[in-house]
Amino acid sequence: MSTTNPPLPEFDIDPRAFRTLADAQMGVELDTGDMILNLGPQHPATHGTLRLVVRLDGERVIAADPVIGYMHRGYEKLVEFRTYPQITTLINRIDWLSSFANEVPFIDAAEKLMGVEAPPRAQYIRTILTELSRISTFVLFLGEMGLQVGALTPAFYGFRDREHVVNLIESVTGGRFHPNFNRVGGLKDDLPWGWVNETRTVLKKIYDACDVFEDLVAGNEIFAARTKGVGIIPPEIGAAYGVSGSNLRASGVDWDLRRDGAPYLVYPDLDFKVWTHPDGDSFARYWVRLQETRESCRMVLQLLDAMPSGPIMAKVPRIIKVPEGEVWTEVENPLGQMGYYVFSKGATGPFRVKIRSASFSNVSILPWMLRGVFVPDVITILASLYFILGDIDR
């Protein structure tokens, strides 16, 4: 066999052009090109505007980089120009699925600075509404997670069952998603008539809904195959990234600010269990949230039984001026640890507020977690971390 190539025809082309062409072909032959895929900012799985730049080799993720800030609203700056009662309207919109829970730590901070304490009945109602917003968030998650792994039906059940809780919150506060109900020193209104009995009925429904989700979603073999062993967060790495809340408890870390943090609301008086799961995978996160939904139902029932009567507003001046000082409050929000560092110079509004939101830290672990997983697992992991875009971008 002849090995000599036929002579090249003489074209008026720079020989370097041939060489680069040949090199390019070699490159194509030797390694399959990576593909850079933009998941988002508009993508159904990112529930909002999280952008995830994913470098793919086939279906496998080589590297992932979350890009945030598409919904940045600058709340930390905006609150500097507003009075304390006005600020609750803004911070409602941080984690919009559990708005009431956002208000509590901020109002708590303002009350601490002023040396005011809300009356016991207000504290009880605050705790009840916080737990109800936790339930509404988690029930939605329990359905939504099914949708993200491909089962359409649970998502509708999630929305349907959350509706009861949202109606309850609406009937107290007047707002379905943005209650804006907390005042420095108490609450805007008392509970409406007949609300307590209504709540008991709804909690029964949520309890049943949890059984449905446990059976329909967590009990499904395909769901288990899709989530078990996917997206494992080792406890020490999770803690190092600042992951908190149910995500960290699913890794076996027994840490809940309602029990372990500085006492707030009436949590010290409550008898509740902090659920953990040793595995740390997506299934564990689902399971922990499922148990916490039930636990919250039990807590609300306890609170309803023990609710004191009395005023719902402490004595506070008409124009609220917070004395000079600084304070840090942190609470256990549905998505994790949420804190406010409030720095006051004695005006009607704070001088500076630092907001520590849970999702921001929870999402920061994504580049570490997503390395080497498949594209469908990216969605599973995103869904099981359960972040809210408003909570990331603020």
Binding site: M35, L37, N38, H43, P44, A45, E59, G146, L147, Q148, V149, G150, A151, L152, T153, F156, Y157, R160, V217, N220, I222, F223, A225, R226, F374, V375, P376, D377, V378, I379
Partner: protein, 345 residues
């Protein structure tokens, strides 16, 4: 006995047959879309929307959806390969058309009574993968491309269990002709009892299960809907399609579901025929046959859509593992068992 056979020329016959087939694909797609996608799904998922329009049970929803598709702008991406992009939905629908050619709906209601009917039906059903690949590639979209490649891998992998599932029936009936398979079931008997004929689902229940699983994958329905995976790939290969072209994909999807249900009803449930021992005349079966087939098809389609609305989606590697490690060995064992029993009995 009244004979319905009228002497007409082959050209007229061909024209009538073509017209019927042309109407049957959109019609069946709409029937399935209305019954299962709109009504059954609404009931299962407690959806309120599709139960509302038009008053009684939301009957107007389908018309409304149709009108919405007509009004939509026909969008084509700037980078798209225009001709291939436009052709892809047609290719998908054509593969559906071709399946219907061999499915018998009565003693002589069949477009072409092929001797290799089963083989032909399964062969043309996989033509749709070409259309899917064309759509995915021509859209110039990474999500589309991923979806199309997933679809190709999946359709090829599940072609094999589908065929293996059918081979058991073919061995038992000793024919590839769909009409022949129907007649065998109608004339058969179970241990000498011939009141029900012998539908092959009784002897080939393993084959039926395999067929249903593989058909679900061929139709890219949940739990095997990775190619369209709306939570991952948005809508996979269909992501850039809108309006009429999307409607074509929709018709292709549901028409193919109907066609697969028809194949399953024909080879496992006895097709259009009622048991021969019931003594119905050929003339009567011309009228009853299509209705009998339709009921069986709706039953099979109900199973398919029931699974579709219940299960989550598998992952791509789990899907391939299921095909190669579970379904194909079971299919092969089923064939061996059938062959041994066939020779022994």
């Amino acid at each position: 006995m009244i004979s319905l056979a009228v002497d007409i020329g082959w050209g007229t016959t061909l024209a009538i047959k073509t017209l019927v087939i042309l109407m049957i694909v959109p019609a069946t797609a709409l029937i399935l879309g209305y019954t299962f996608l709109l009504k059954m799904m609404s009931h299962m998922q407690s959806r309120l929307g599709p139960m509302d329009p038009g008053g009684f049970h939301g009957w107007f929803q389908l018309v409304g959806d149709g009108m919405k598709f007509m009004q939509k702008e026909d969008i084509m991406p700037a980078q798209a390969d225009r001709r291939v992009f436009a052709m892809a939905p047609m290719v998908v629908v054509v593969s559906t058309f071709l399946i219907f050619l061999v499915i018998p709906a009565g003693p002589d209601i069949v477009v072409k009574n092929l001797n290799v009917g089963v083989f032909y039906a399964l062969a043309v059903s996989s033509l749709s993968v070409i259309g899917v690949l064309m759509a995915g590639w021509a859209s110039a979209n990474k999500f589309s491309l991923l979806g199309a490649l997933r679809a190709a891998a999946q359709l090829i992998a599940y072609e094999l269990p589908l065929l293996l599932a059918v081979i058991g029936v073919v061995i038992q009936a000793s024919t590839l002709n769909l009409q022949g398979i129907v007649l065998h079931q109608s004339a058969g008997s179970i241990f000498g009892f011939d009141g029900l004929g012998n539908p092959y689902i009784l002897t080939q229940f393993v084959g039926f299960a395999l067929f249903m699983v593989a058909a679900q994958a061929e139709l890219t329905q949940t739990p095997f809907d990775m190619p369209v995976a709306e939570s991952e790939l948005v809508a996979g290969y269909m992501v850039e399609y809108s309006g009429f072209r999307f409607l074509f994909f929709f018709i292709g999807e549901f028409g193919t579901a109907f066609a697969f249900a028809a194949i399953a009803a024909t080879i496992f449930l006895g097709g259009w025929a009622l048991p021969a021992s019931w003594g119905l005349s050929v003339g009567a079966m011309r009228f009853i046959g299509p209705a009998v087939l339709f009921v069986k098809i709706m039953f099979v389609a109900f199973l398919m859509f029931w699974v579709r609305f219940t299960y989550p989606r598998l992952r791509e590697d789990q899907l391939q593992a299921l095909a190669w490690k579970v379904l194909i060995p079971i299919g092969l064992l089923n064939i061996v068992a059938t062959a041994i029993l066939k020779v022994a009995m």
